[in-house]
Symmetry: D2
Subunit: 329 residues, 4 copies
């Protein structure tokens, strides 16, 4: 019987953890030297880790520049990894909890124009010379702000609070595909969700043995929609822990924060990303929170919240979420 | 205190108010008896009011049932009004500040299925007998919750906090059109934005003399996206004050709350609603907050937030907003 | 052999015609003097006609200029009509057979740029000063060509065969709406279908007593998609005959030519226009041609043809059609 | 100076051919034994051929069944190839002329329901048990028809003329991606264009050395849009000749027939596929036919024709084409 808030998911996770109690979790320090531009199981694992292990690592920026300002990879979105998670098999769910996502250099860059599909097409007549307009921001970690001092762009410059995030978290996709790191999909990837910050738990569907986890594309801050086509692109210090839920297949990336359960659907057109997020959220409510089909749909109609993560990548990403406080207990 | 924060808009409003200082604002109590199903300047004004005036009125539910449970109008979304605002002319902006939006009966109804375009089409095979599935909720105003007791829909029923809103706020559209109250557009209308609650200021573009303001379609609560196709549909007590900003033309409805400036773009596909909201927000930043074209675009890329108001009306509505705390001072 | 092949449509038409055998059809010569910019039953009938009657009339161009080069109406798409068809009631189908659609002056104008949503947004950077780029073509009716002599636009100029059509054929819409003549919908309207030429039969759903038929927006020629935002805009001599099929309700405009049955669905996004055309075609096959639901879907999968009528109006139009030679006999 | 009709394309082709005059073209007979489900340069070449060479080969059906009714591959769309074309380098254009596309067995299968996005979502309530509804057709090559004898689907059955085509023609994609053969894109792939029949010339952009040509997914006939989600799926005898145009980069697949020049754009949403086709056609007119930017746009507005190739694959395909008879001479 299902009392209190023990969801099926929680039960499954508990059972799995119970079955592997004896091993002490390890912490791996991994400084990447090789970077990848496709999500693919064809790349050799950079590191083999076990469920429960922690990884302390770094990511370079979307154009391939590292924490020393050195160009060590090529765009778009060169990835750290892949991390091979022992015991992860197709049909399982990989759980990645990010303890730290923190900028590790003083420079970030951004675009300075709204991206082609983000604004009315008649409003983009002046869009020219996009590459020349890359702007350089200063990351002031002590003051917790990013600062643009180019007064030719904006008299007085701009300054905004930091909110570090990873644009890319993904695993090897299904069907033996190798997919550009420019794109998000069911495997995660370049979702560019502004609220994928330190503290979140990310769940991804495993399609290949070992899952093959990749991360990258850190932003010191990014607006929702990523409407300028970039965040404040920079390198990051990242720490995360992995877990595997055996035999639990999910259709799209999920997240959990202190306050919400979250689904990230990716597709074009925007509405289809919305549809995937909505349907996956319904499946989650039914599988783990005791809702009937009709109960879930009725409840979602009055409680779901939506955000637009990006409208600039080859697939767009829409987020559907529900406050945990409203879920059945 | 907001000192340098006197925006152009504020200045314009101040000038306008300065030009009409002597008249005392009136409060009008208006109980509607006739309801409209199109936004159109062809309907005779129900009440003539002046800038600064307050209106205390009521709205009936989306199917035409009033606060006594009596059917007095016909769906969809029968409107209270139109209110003719003296001095409002094409090219002005009408400002409506809602002091009160409050449920005034104990019953609300909702649908119990996700709407056709809100979820994956392959997930809707079981969609049958839509009309038969209208659910009845109890509004418990003292406890501040809405309650669904039908345990055949969901064992244990459902209960969620109230968050009263108006689905429809609109004026007569441009080009002498008469548009169904099922739809939102540049004139406002059936935007179904879950956060159009008491306390918000709504700005609408005036296209006809007197603006012709209509309101209706109250929801005791609604999720974002209105993915079930309805909120908790009910009647409302509403109080609002009107103002006019002379000579200020806006392209899409805008809102202001204690924390955000907000734009509501409406269209299909969803991306085009997003584009309208984005471009109108840029125009607002440039006109009223001192941003250059490039400065506005750069700033928006790292700060804009998006919500999906509805994906179920003939036009969908996307909200773009920015926290006031991030705006230039 | 298909004896039961008298379709419902045919039967209904036969019955109707049988019930009105004695009256001789009239020919009305009507030179319009007043033009409308909305489809609406609120406009007074310009002429009352009966089923079987023929109308010989004229249309002015999309900007309001007539066959003498005189500006007598205002854009967009000022309409000739409305024609009130005696006996047409909501739920009937109006049938309009165009015997003649012919240019009646030597001048046409067109735009010279691809419209905002017709081409890749990154390819429209040079789009400036749209109004200034109106081009003037010469209609050479003897040679059956239209000619652009502006060699600054294209060295050597351009010349293409005439193919006269009407961009707009519509009736008063449902729900008492008044809709801009810029837009197509279930009522017909600005569908901008390049193959609505002399010889076609157009069927429209009747929503108001008398149907209220409007026509206008003649093009000496137009490409599919109307991707430049205009055809070769000019005035026309038009002759048509009307009929009414009593008690036959259709969902979207239909056409019949010597070779095809045709449905025109209009909406944004483009896919939704496609969906309406597809579903209406299925309903047609089932109602009039003896297909089962599954038979219709199976057959359509291997035989349907699609064209894009326009991607530039507020709603886009997609055409689904099937060669008559493939239909069941 | 540009005299007469010597386009750049023609010049380039002429130069290339001039540089390799001495070798006699070979004919290769290739019976495939291994089939691929991704477009990728990672697969080893099945055959190395030279420009000018002819290949006589076979394809199996979309589910992997060959001309003997034997299951030899797995869905979706197992491909024959890849063919490595000597001398083809990134930045070149591969030209494939199909001399023969002909059914080689008596059985084809099809679906019997409209696909999820092809029809109105409210019209698909009865969609159940999709897999069970695979229908079997008889290919009568002598009578040139396909016949469905299942009278439970349609009383009297169905019969329609054959029109054999290949759903898939593609090369290795750019950026080292490996893409499922379910999908079309700039590399070609699963475009499902009903008019890719014997006699057409297909042009594809080369992204990898040798191009790596794959073919498959033959249909005895298919409607436009492929709205049932399948054509009449069967195996094929195929003969084609290859050529390479050195140094000519194209953005999307192109075709040429006796009557038209044709571009195939693929994306979701449908409008974006339309946009790619339109913009690529403009680039073609400017590069090879002497049109200015403005001349091309003006001309396209009055002459372009559009078809919808598919709305059922992960990316949709739209065709833009122009009759050769209208092109400048």
């Amino acid at each position: 019987m299902r009392t209190a808030c023990l969801t099926l998911f929680t039960v499954a996770a508990a059972l799995w953890i119970a079955s592997a109690p004896t091993r002490a979790a390890e912490t791996h320090r991994f400084v990447p030297e090789r970077f990848y531009n496709t999500y693919s199981a064809a790349h050799p694992p950079a590191l083999r880790i076990k469920p429960g292990d922690r990884v302390v690592t770094k990511t370079i920026d979307a154009a391939g520049v590292d924490w020393n300002g050195k160009s060590v990879g090529t765009g778009p979105n060169p990835q750290t990894g892949p991390f091979f998670i022992e015991g992860a098999e197709p049909g399982d769910t990989l759980v990645v909890t990010f303890e730290k996502i923190e900028t590790n250099r003083a420079m970030a860059y951004s675009a300075s124009l709204l991206a082609p599909y983000a604004a009315e097409p008649t409003a983009i007549a002046s869009r020219v010379d996009r590459d020349a307009k890359r702007l350089t921001w200063t990351i002031d970690k002590a003051a917790k702000i990013a600062r643009l001092d180019q007064t030719d762009v904006q008299p007085g410059g701009l300054q905004i609070p930091l909110r570090p995030m990873l644009g890319c978290v993904g695993v090897a996709p299904a069907r033996k595909e190798a997919i550009s790191t420019a794109t998000p999909g069911p495997w995660g990837g370049n979702m560019d969700y502004a609220w994928l910050n330190a503290g979140v738990k990310v769940m991804l569907p495993v399609s290949e043995p070992g899952a093959l986890l990749f991360i990258g594309d850190g932003h010191a801050r990014q607006g929702e929609g990523e409407v300028a086509g970039t965040g404040l692109e920079t390198s990051m210090d990242v720490e995360f822990t992995v877990d595997v839920v055996k035999g639990k297949a999910i259709g799209w990336p999920r997240m959990e924060t202190a306050t919400h359960i979250i689904v990230l659907g990716s597709a074009r057109p925007l509405l289809e990303a919305f549809q995937h997020a909505t349907s996956e959220l319904q499946r989650w409510l039914m599988a783990d929170y005791g809702y009937t089909e009709r109960g879930a749909q009725t409840f979602m109609g009055q409680t779901t919240e939506y955000e637009v993560a990006n409208v600039v990548d080859p697939a767009f990403t829409v987020v559907a979420k529900i406050p945990k406080s409203l879920l059945r207990r």
